[in-house]
Symmetry: none
Subunit: 196 residues, 4 copies
DNA sequence: AATGAATGAGGATTCATTCAT
DNA sequence: GATGAATGAATCCTCATTCAT
């Protein structure tokens, strides 16, 4: 016999299925915070704890560590896609939104230069798919005749900027990002999240 | 009663002080390889094993995992300093050496944008000192009137380039690094290690 | 940073490498006991605890759960091989030793009818090899003209007897085993461990 | 304020009491399959999933994992009782039915030598009661003057045969069972389920 | 000065069981 | 009556670090 939860002892609340969606959102939010503080390799238990749920809930919603990370990034990427799809958006606007996410989310920075060896987070596969979505979003906005010197140079520039984004405070990261774009001679719109 | 060393009693080799230096070097070399293959989070036991020494030796030479990483980087940094100090070296030459290390060593890439959050390797503190040494090495070679737009922009550029350096093969990493320098309009000399 | 054993806190004794062999033996003995009480699926932590060592020691000596079980069975099997190899041993003698192990070791019973599905212990592969060694040991002792009705019937009989061996006490198990052999019309020597 | 059931609001089907019996049967059938594939230690969630019901339903019908296993075995046992009670049934016939269940159901094999130690499934108690029912069923068919050498030898023989029943395929298991009966000199009727 | 065993905390993952809906 | 989410204990396994020899 393996598990014998004491039946008589006080169980914490179980808000029932209604909580499911709320919990999932809480987990993603918690993961974002934890990642910002401790990096993509942070223990999943920390994420669950911060979300205020048991570990099992995390595993119910996400099969593995990569799925958690992907869920966090998914939100970043979607905003960029939306910014790219918005009426009258310019490349600068989209880059602004992207820069905002870069300054906001350590995980997103990681995504944008998607290491190689090492990170045990095993997102590589998903990362590729996600960064392609970003690329598609950006590519549509290269103005006529706009050259960055080659087909892949836009993403190279993105990687470079994300390499530049270091620093403990959001402000510092934003400044560095902007300086980096300046160095590349690329104009960036207002740095902010996409709001419909 | 002290025990007489007997030849037939299998005791691990103890080559005396001479071995100490050799071991240290072996550990650093092993660490470099292991880091390249498995990232900075690789188990120290793997480093010791690859170096062909016991774990204790590792701890004799390095107080903790940060010290190991630092020692690896130390070698990279020293080469850059030497390149910078060499007779007649130009900025491009130094950057070439640096780029070589960037393409060679995953750990060094990490150093150059020294995340802040995340890496459990706890090098933060050391990293700062090391990257300042790199900076000093480079700064001395800014030709008269050479402006990168501001005091810190050189290191920003370095961070940007290291952000660009991704890819599974050395060749790919070198190409990306060179493309990144090109995008920044900065000339780079031959990409190679410093050789006195 | 993942692990931070409190350096200042009292560490339990570390008897050094000398303890290694002792520990391994303790682990095998503990495993045998634990298996007898709780079956082959018992938690490895229970084995380590009973052996009085940390979990890590267990994993140092045995790569996985199957290795532990194999080590336990190995001893049983070796005794049977020795009994079979002994001067002047008859089939009955060897079966006596085997029966002793059958009554003694729950794990060994399991080996002899090597389930199929289910047991998470994952010994299947090793079990096969081990039970073949038993078979070889026995086969050499089939007296001339002795027929059990077919090539595999000896092992079938063994499996049948081990199926019969149930019961909480050693005595009861021995009685059932002997009754089973009787039912099969096979003579068995004294039930006891092999002693050189 | 009570909520009116509305057709469009997705609520899980609730087919009323009629479904209860159907669900119970589905659970037992599912458990039998799952046990066959993954052993008695298979997660209950797998059983519920395979039965196409929620976990709660499983717990409504069975207080714990032992109850599930017992229910599965109950069906096996009942068939044997029925075979024993049938008009004109001989011992061989009943043994045939029993052998069929032995080859069919891993769980039933386990029942018949009811380990004692080990199985975390905690059926021990129930198992005893069930195997007594089997015994009663068989005992009534011992033909006059039929001796197996002692009061308990019939069940011993059954245990022996079930010990012999191993192998991945049904066919192999049946062959081994028949060979075992032959070795014991006991005649067995056609191996098949009982059909009224 | 080296070896390599031991410790044990920490993180991942899996289920048994409960319970809001 | 059914659903399926939530809880959290238990187990597995991996290392960082210490220490007897």
């Amino acid at each position: 016999m393996k598990q014998q939860p004491r039946a008589d002892e006080r169980r914490p609340a179980n808000d029932g299925p209604k909580a499911a969606a709320r919990n999932r959102a809480a987990l993603v939010a918690a993961a974002r915070e934890v990642y910002a503080e401790s990096g993509l390799d942070a223990p999943l238990s920390a994420v669950a704890r911060r979300a205020g749920v048991g570990q099992g809930v995390l595993y119910r919603h996400f099969p593995d560590r990569a799925a958690v990370a992907t869920a966090v990034l998914e939100e970043n990427v979607r905003q960029i896609e939306q910014a790219a799809a918005a009426e009258g958006a310019t490349l600068a606007d989209v880059l602004g939104v992207m820069t905002w996410h870069l300054t906001e989310s350590a995980a997103f920075i990681g995504l944008m230069h998607a290491d190689g060896a090492g990170s045990r987070s095993g997102i590589r596969a998903h990362a590729l798919a996600l960064s392609e979505r970003v690329e598609r979003g950006l590519r549509g906005h290269l103005p006529d005749g706009y050259r960055l010197g080659g087909a892949n140079d836009l993403m190279l520039a993105v990687a470079m900027v994300s390499g530049a984004v270091t620093g403990p405070t959001r402000e510092e990261r934003e400044q560095r990002a902007l300086a980096a774009w300046r160095l590349l001679g690329i104009e960036v719109g207002p740095v902010r999240p996409f709001e419909g």
